[in-house]
Symmetry: C2
Subunit: 514 residues, 2 copies
Amino acid sequence: MAAATTSKAILPPHNHPTATTTATKNGFSISIRAYHNSTIESHPGQQPSNKGIKLAESLSNMLHLHIERNLNHRTSNVPRIEDKHNTPTMSPKENISKKWQEIHGSNDWNNLLDPLHPWLRREIVKYGEFAQATYDAFDFDSFSEYCGSCRYNRQKLFEKLGLTKSGYKVTKYVYAMSQIDLPQWLERSRLADTWSKDSNWMGFVAVSDDQETQRIGRRDIVVSWRGTVAPSEWYDNMQNKLESIGQGEAKVEHGFLSIYTSKSESTRYNKSSASEQVMREVKKLVNYYKGRGEEVSLTITGHSLGGALALLNAYEAAKNFSGLRISVISFAAPRVGNIAFRDELYQMGIKTLRVTIKQDVVPRMPGIVFNESLQKFDDITGTLEWVYTHVGVELKLDIRSSIYLKKRLNLVGIHMLETYLHLVDGYLDSTTTFRSDAKRDVVLVNKDCDMLVDELKIPPNWYQLENKGLERNFHGRWVKPTRDPEDIPSPTVESYSNVLEMQGSYGIETLFNI
Amino acid sequence: MAAATTSKAILPPHNHPTATTTATKNGFSISIRAYHNSTIESHPGQQPSNKGIKLAESLSNMLHLHIERNLNHRTSNVPRIEDKHNTPTMSPKENISKKWQEIHGSNDWNNLLDPLHPWLRREIVKYGEFAQATYDAFDFDSFSEYCGSCRYNRQKLFEKLGLTKSGYKVTKYVYAMSQIDLPQWLERSRLADTWSKDSNWMGFVAVSDDQETQRIGRRDIVVSWRGTVAPSEWYDNMQNKLESIGQGEAKVEHGFLSIYTSKSESTRYNKSSASEQVMREVKKLVNYYKGRGEEVSLTITGHSLGGALALLNAYEAAKNFSGLRISVISFAAPRVGNIAFRDELYQMGIKTLRVTIKQDVVPRMPGIVFNESLQKFDDITGTLEWVYTHVGVELKLDIRSSIYLKKRLNLVGIHMLETYLHLVDGYLDSTTTFRSDAKRDVVLVNKDCDMLVDELKIPPNWYQLENKGLERNFHGRWVKPTRDPEDIPSPTVESYSNVLEMQGSYGIETLFNI
């Protein structure tokens, strides 16, 4: 048996899937993909796989309730993915200008969610793809001096990710740091020389162009927040660390708040905090477009940790811009603050659509916590659930609705934003399965996980750079090419370029109003 | 703790290193990389990581003898790899025409190995790179309909792999099957439609061009055999399955022989066996060049399983071509046959240079076997060691000699051919460490493993396709592009093209002699 492991020795496969640790309980298999970032890998003392097995066992009790074995038969008539190759990935864009307030929650999404209104569905996917962009463009390579930054400058971001048709333009990149020690939060380069030792690229501000503005009925400013780490482990250690926000009783988890508000003069990218960067940019844009007499909205989006930051951002924006229509569309977000925090958000008119997947653990944090001694997850009602409170209206998805998805419990895959976007795209109502005329590319689901059923023959974790970015030079040596100068982060460029740009695109007369 | 696994959920890293399972024993850390091919991954019931841990523990006893802890300090003064970026990867080629017989073992490599003669060093690396090419170009993607084939046609192979300067030209691809069930031998497509259900691309025949022929003093025919699976696991189950070869007492391991000789009329690529394909091609080339009055040599190379096949191939070739100078340069090859087999090889004048790494387990197979009950490897002297016998002269390398290599026991990494080639390139003699003027690109070592010290900042397992071969089509959908027609394997083309080619390149008058 043991030799079977050795036996792969001389296989140099192109595809190295991450380890899948599997435990079977009650006849249903549960799979947890043990992700190893390079930091873990460089410390041979750690044994993440063991942890994965433990976790799988622990979760099986709780989660088998939500996945029934007999659903597997559905995968037998999965449509051939090749039949869709020559079909468009989206429907023609509707003009939603008459209905946009409702789509953004003015009526708390009454009668829009079940069944899901097709215009709303498209808008959710649109914002979700802005959040996905923060993952797709992020430099995770710890051997890169730009680890933790965006791989492209903001002018090129949407073009590189195939989002040019979104009708938005990125005006600002946002960087964040944290002054408290949060487990596995920061992606850090191993090199001595790095663009930043303290900060990570944390998202962007974008604004709708004239054509999109016309279609959606107002000038829309978007803030898209990147997630980094599932907030679950923070709750393990920091369940009680709520911190005050604002002047009243509102309190929020101190880890989220730290990322949102930390700054330090000694850093290159966080002399101002993420909060300050975003608020300054939003203020600039709001003033500019309101100054032109336009109706303006602010839509804040994010996945997981990014969804938590979106709420903090919405809270602060509402405090600063009275009368501005602010909505949050979050994916897989955990609870962030207490009841007073929620109530203040409601009072200020912030509308939050919270997209969740029934089988995803993270949106249930910190309502459930890991019980080390019992080796299982428990619902702790009456305690934390009453401290941390969810905000807004929930759109609840179910992985069982899609015939394209594996039904085994892949905790990582179920939490992935692409899985969310796939399920939104196929969602009709709470009782129906995946709609047959969904157009979004199913293949995207497997970008960074192994969620698609085998019949589709899509490799897992396929989203990867050729040779991890190494290229052969003139001498035949494999080298890491230097980044295009325009894609190298620079605090100076970050501070000034969008002003110069507005000068160019919108007329110099506005420059001095900013 | 458990949440730490979940925590990587929202990280969509580009780089997914394979799992590293680690056990610590006697203060020295042993790391076994658990490779998961896609077959394993699709069967969530398997738990390869567990196996990895077991194996690590089992091996620690045996192998700590060969790695001393205090060698780690050497990594502190590793030269900066960037300093070599603008230097050539090889020395100018020497004319070895006067010494080629000696380099190929006419004097059993006496006085050439310790210290290693620089001309011999270069020739070893040259043949090793032919063996490496069979890995680099192999399609391991089980979701590809061409899984198990070569990704390029033979005219393009060397160009694609940067081997155009080798001075050789591929004349024939070799395919193999096996009629007995060998564990994890065949790489097979999961698709219903596949280029071949039974056969794998197993290597190639090449011949030196006129310029190289002049430099090396004779026309050299090369057969390069791909390895697939470490033969270790075969010995677990098949230790006693020796099969006769030839007319005398010679016997060889029946799994190797099966791959070498199996054929079936019902297959597309193995209507003739690998043996027959190679022998026919070699015969054609020998006749052709001898017919032109040239001196001809046959050099057979291969790594691991490929090294075993090389010996079988040499045996058969010697039987068929008396007077032809035949040599074998093998890397990490296990024992193949009994004493009678070895003696016959010697009698027929076959010269074998067997390159091994002291810490590699495979060349010690089947002299050591895994003892399931004791959970450790044992040297079984007096039994199998006397049945299976090594052939030829050994060039023994040591991973401790290179400051570039990690000293922890990575069984997979130590067995990799690129690790071998790196150590050959740096080898001076049995007492000296890595030569400082070695030119070969150190980065290559990490293609498919994690052997380079962290100071070098080379990502592990970097040899990978962009997005695993998926590309965006006109509609924005991610699709697996169809192969270039010229790179699609075809039994017809395989049978005839090299004849047509010789007609073209060498003159039509020879066509009818073949």
